[in-house]
Symmetry: C2
Subunit: 409 residues, 2 copies
């Protein structure tokens, strides 16, 4: 059902020098599928991350924050399991996450706080530690620079398509690679980052700079998508710079810094949009644009009111230009002094509403034509200021209910 | 599909002295069904209302506010149409609402600002004024005190069951009647009041007191329910005191005032719960209780995070005790300093989570047993303070998508 999204073509994912990936089938929840991923970074690599703001954050998220702090970002590996989120698992959950890092560190010859752990899957159940630990040797034995496609597959849960993006560019006269993977299809309204995403470059970037960039990239990508408004317990977005390539960046003024940052953000945005394209039950990819708002917060409030409304989302599923539902959502977005007579609403280039009501030139068949497309832009011009934003979302279909009513069974 | 809700039994709706109701079939949207309601009040009646906070509020809501102000609540009639919400209709919509009031006022011999207009149905289309005005004579000819059941039917849209409640009590030695009707099944997250509800008593109550009471009753009833989180453009809750009965109340200290106010709130709460029981596609009626919060706002934020989560609502539909989804919703409710180790989560009397994870005594079969019931209480004890709240909601089923993907077709 994914909207204009297919698995990465063979050879399209460029290896990142200084980084190897290995996967294993550990039977965490379902037999026979890749469900453990290990990534190993060359000595000298730096890592930075942003994580969920959910107060019920998962144990591995707590461990990641601790390890990034105590290792100052000098990370040597990460380990991911699917099938179990290790969230809502109390102190035992934290002990399980730490034990996983210790086991991998012993095998790779580094410190436990140089390993970042990640989990995704069912909440409120303890990790099957015996099976997870038993899977690590296979994953380590599988480590190779070319295994990006397998890595993207190993972190999937309800995803129907593996998500990856890769760019190779010459920046400041040096060849640079940026490659990343992501997973997520439901419980998606990231508040920092998405469910899970890892992006790596072979450039050398100091950790403090990398931490600023990862936040900026998240704000322009994963923090701008929503499937169902449910901010997950496990959202994590980690950016790694191996330093094994030719480009070295010291600060924002370094030659190539701006271009590298833009390339990283481009990869992150592509991955974030891939999550929406593969949103649970999605049949449409919708860009919600809000322009001329009084502030960035106001623009976001209006965009999310539209993007979260079940009535708007079911109308998109039905290809029904029932546009009053969009106006209704704008009206309850919380702008107390909104003058509805001044705003304009567009579906792609069709002006639908103006002067507080249906635009005089609007014809139902024009709205219908746009609504039938698989990709639609809803644009609200508030005419109150200069701020603007874009949020990406999908429609709300029968399959969303089916997927989520049956997820554990 | 309504959950433990049936149409009012014949004879169960007590007439309110000083109030008559008449309906008509005006073909506003669909032929053959009652779609216009007129209510006439005796001279001396007072009315008060609360209305949607949606900034895209409908034209009749604007007219109601104006008329209540200019007539000081000395209202003589109300007129309701279904099939068209007269919302997102700009200046012409307001003119249409006023013209409807003028036409009815001329027929009843009162001023136009003594008539309150209401509309419900599709947004962004103009009222078919010719058919609406042509229906008024039939509705006026039908006026009678006993027509409450027909009135409840005439205001339905996607409702599957007409909603009404009635109480007769002896208060301060006088017999008093309170009877009300309501409609609404989708676009329900009232922020002042529900889609439409009218409650009347034959007691005499000054308008200023009535205005305070209507707000309090709304806060304890319609402002505590949600179906899909969509605050409608047309929410209106109007309370009428005809003064034609035996009880007269002058202020909160008058004999019987507290009891009358409680009876009015009881009727409003019954009607609000009826809206949730008949929520679009509902198969479960869920009471979301939050206790020991630091503030009322915090309690409401947690309750609505749970009640609005599509993942929680689909789990209820599936009777699946996938309780991590509830913890996840609590975690993103916006309490920055929430200590998840201190909270407790209960399904009815089954303690599900404590100490930041699954309760040691919790057994899946106990959760399963509760989830299979048609009525469920989800109780979160935050252990942060003394505030508490209850919000009523329903589950999220395939039929919600079907109803809203097909609503206009």
């Amino acid at each position: 059902m994914a909207v204009n999204l297919s698995a990465p073509a063979p050879g399209s994912l460029h290896p990142v020098a200084g980084l190897e990936l290995g996967t294993a089938r550990a039977h965490i929840r379902k037999p026979g599928r890749r469900d453990v991923l290990v990534a190993r970074f060359a000595p000298g690599a730096t890592a930075a991350g942003v994580f969920t703001r959910n107060r019920f954050c998962a144990a591995p998220v707590r461990a990641c924050r601790e390890h990034l702090a105590s290792s100052a970002g000098a990370v040597r590996a990460l380990v991911v399991n699917t099938g179990n989120a290790n969230a809502g698992t109390g102190e035992q959950g934290l002990a399980d996450a730490r034990r996983t890092c210790e086991a991998l560190a012993a095998r790779l010859g580094c410190r436990a706080d140089q390993v970042l752990p990640f989990s995704t899957g069912v909440i409120l159940e303890h990790l099957p530690m015996d099976r997870l630990l038993a899977g690590l040797p296979d994953a380590v034995a599988d480590l190779a620079p070319a295994h990006w496609a397998e890595a993207a597959e190993a972190i999937m849960t309800t995803d129907t398509v593996p998500k990856a993006a890769s760019r190779r560019a010459t920046i400041a006269g040096r060849e640079v690679t940026v490659t990343g993977i992501a997973k997520g299809a439901g419980m998606i309204r990231p508040n920092m980052a998405t469910m899970l995403s890892f992006v790596a470059t072979d450039a050398a970037v100091p950790q403090a700079l990398l931490q600023r960039w990862v936040r900026e990239a998240a704000d322009a990508s994963f923090n701008r998508v929503t499937v169902d408004g449910d901010t997950s317990t496990n959202d994590s977005f980690v950016l790694v710079a191996t330093g094994a390539g030719a480009l070295r960046v010291d600060d924002d003024a370094s030659p190539g810094a701006a271009e590298l940052r833009a390339t990283i953000t481009d990869v992150a945005r592509t991955l974030a949009q891939a999550i929406v394209r593969d949103g649970e039950g999605a049949t449409k990819f919708i860009s919600v644009v809000v322009e001329r708002a009084a502030s960035a917060d106001e623009a976001a409030a209006v965009a999310y009111a539209i993007a979260h409304s079940p009535l708007v989302k079911t109308a998109f599923f039905a290809s029904d230009p029932n546009l009053g539902r969009i106006l209704c959502a704008i009206g309850y977005a919380g702008i107390d002094d909104l003058d509805v007579d001044r705003l304009e609403l567009y579906l792609d280039d069709v002006r639908v509403a103006s002067a507080g009501g249906r635009d005089p030139a609007y014809r139902e068949e024009d709205g219908q034509r746009v609504m039938k497309q698989p990709e639609i832009t809803v644009r609200t011009v508030l005419n109150r200021g200069t701020a603007s934003t874009t949020v990406w979302t999908c429609d709300f279909s029968h399959d969303y209910v089916s997927i989520n009513a049956d997820y554990r069974s």
